[in-house]
Symmetry: C2
Subunit: 215 residues, 2 copies
DNA sequence: CGGAAACAACCAATCGATTGGTTGGTAACC
DNA sequence: GGTTACCAACCAATCGATTGGTTGTTTCCG
């Protein structure tokens, strides 16, 4: 087996991309993109406002004309990340509302993986730097996060009730399946010889096997 | 399903424990334990040497009589973490050397999960802060990390060759199964109503299902 | 049209605090 | 008397954040 080399980095080096339609226009948006890049590479504590401002091409003082603090830049990134996650997962759930639980689970895992392949930097910051946020700034994102976990828990419950799935410990299954997608953001990149759809399909199959669907 | 609440933290609050027999005696060992606690909670950049020294109960200057830099404290923690990981995985692999691939895979995943439940703080630091290390300080740990991945890849290869396993993309399976255990360190704690063995057994079953063993 | 007021964007300079790390020296113990 | 363990004081650098002020553009009034 040809294992690709493991690189000691937080995230694959790539352009900081935010979901369409959510990036504020002008300097605010460029601050967000620079913050995304640096928070993903160095973490919240490891990135300074001077680095962010320097990447944008403005003075560090100007940053405070757009955001009241470094934490507010992170908060907006975390909020965007959670909203994109929720939008994709809830869309996948309602689209497959009337399908068998196995198909709905596959759709959820596919959506979960794809949001991590499409915005890996945002996912790393959203999942890995949430703890650095003041509780009141983090609260809205925490609510969305719980909603996302409930989507996954509900489809597992439905599949268990109607006999499609077979799991000894459903709570651990939710944790394990949810964790599958999260890891993707740490290694997926454009240099990989697999497409986003290939990864999503394979991981959806892994999830179906974990719940023992179609046994 | 009763999902436990998700907490926005890097790692469960618990005592910083290092594997037996590897902790240096005296102040050096207490510096390691304090560094482990603070690096796990706040990351390498987010923890200061004054915090570490304060937790030990010594002046920050005294720390430099035991370690030449903050990075060297992290380097020793990362080295200990990787050596414990390698010791447990290679023991599990040789112990099941002559078993069927399915049994060997289960033993590997069990060992992988258990090292994360036994030393969650160390695992978080080892996996999550390796990137902050100078390349020459990280090199020995990177070698051990590759050895660990090869153990997993080899048992998968063996199971594929003799027909025990069935996987479309074995490299992704290695990545997914390896990622399963890593996540455990972020939520496992003493307040959980599952034992370390219960989690390890369930995750071993998940891994066996991912490779479609015993289908 | 012309001038004044309001505006958003920006920056040099600076704040007090903290950073990782160094110095010179003290006290205790074998 | 040498070694080990320790610390008060200090260093240059950087931290997040603030101040006072300069641009260029837009808006409104006469």
């Amino acid at each position: 087996m040809d294992l690709p080399a493991w690189e000691p980095r937080r995230v694959v080096a790539m352009a900081a991309v935010l979901p369409e339609g959510v990036t504020p226009p002008g300097t605010r948006g460029r601050i967000l993109e620079a913050g995304l890049q640096l928070f993903a590479e160095s973490g919240f504590a490891g990135a300074s406002i001077r680095q962010i401002a320097g990447m944008v091409g403005i003075n560090s003082a100007t940053l405070y004309a757009h955001y009241p603090s470094k934490g507010h830049v992170l908060a907006e990134l975390v909020r965007i990340g959670h909203e994109e996650m929720w939008a994709r997962l809830s869309e996948a759930a309602t689209r497959t509302r009337d399908d068998r639980a196995a198909r709905q689970l596959a759709a959820l895992v596919r959506a979960h993986v794809l949001v991590h392949t499409d915005y890996p930097l945002l996912a790393v910051v959203t999942n890995g730097e949430l703890h650095a946020l003041d509780p009141e700034l983090a609260a809205p994102s925490l609510r969305l996060r719980d909603e996302c976990r409930r989507l996954l828990a509900e489809v597992l419950e439905r599949g268990l009730d109607n006999g499609e799935f077979s799991i000894d410990d459903p709570v651990l299954a939710v944790t394990a399946i949810g964790g599958l997608g999260v890891q993707v953001a740490h290694w997926f990149g454009p240099e990989l010889d697999r497409t986003r759809e290939q990864v999503a399909d394979q991981y959806a199959q892994f999830a179906l096997r974990i719940v023992h669907a179609g046994h």
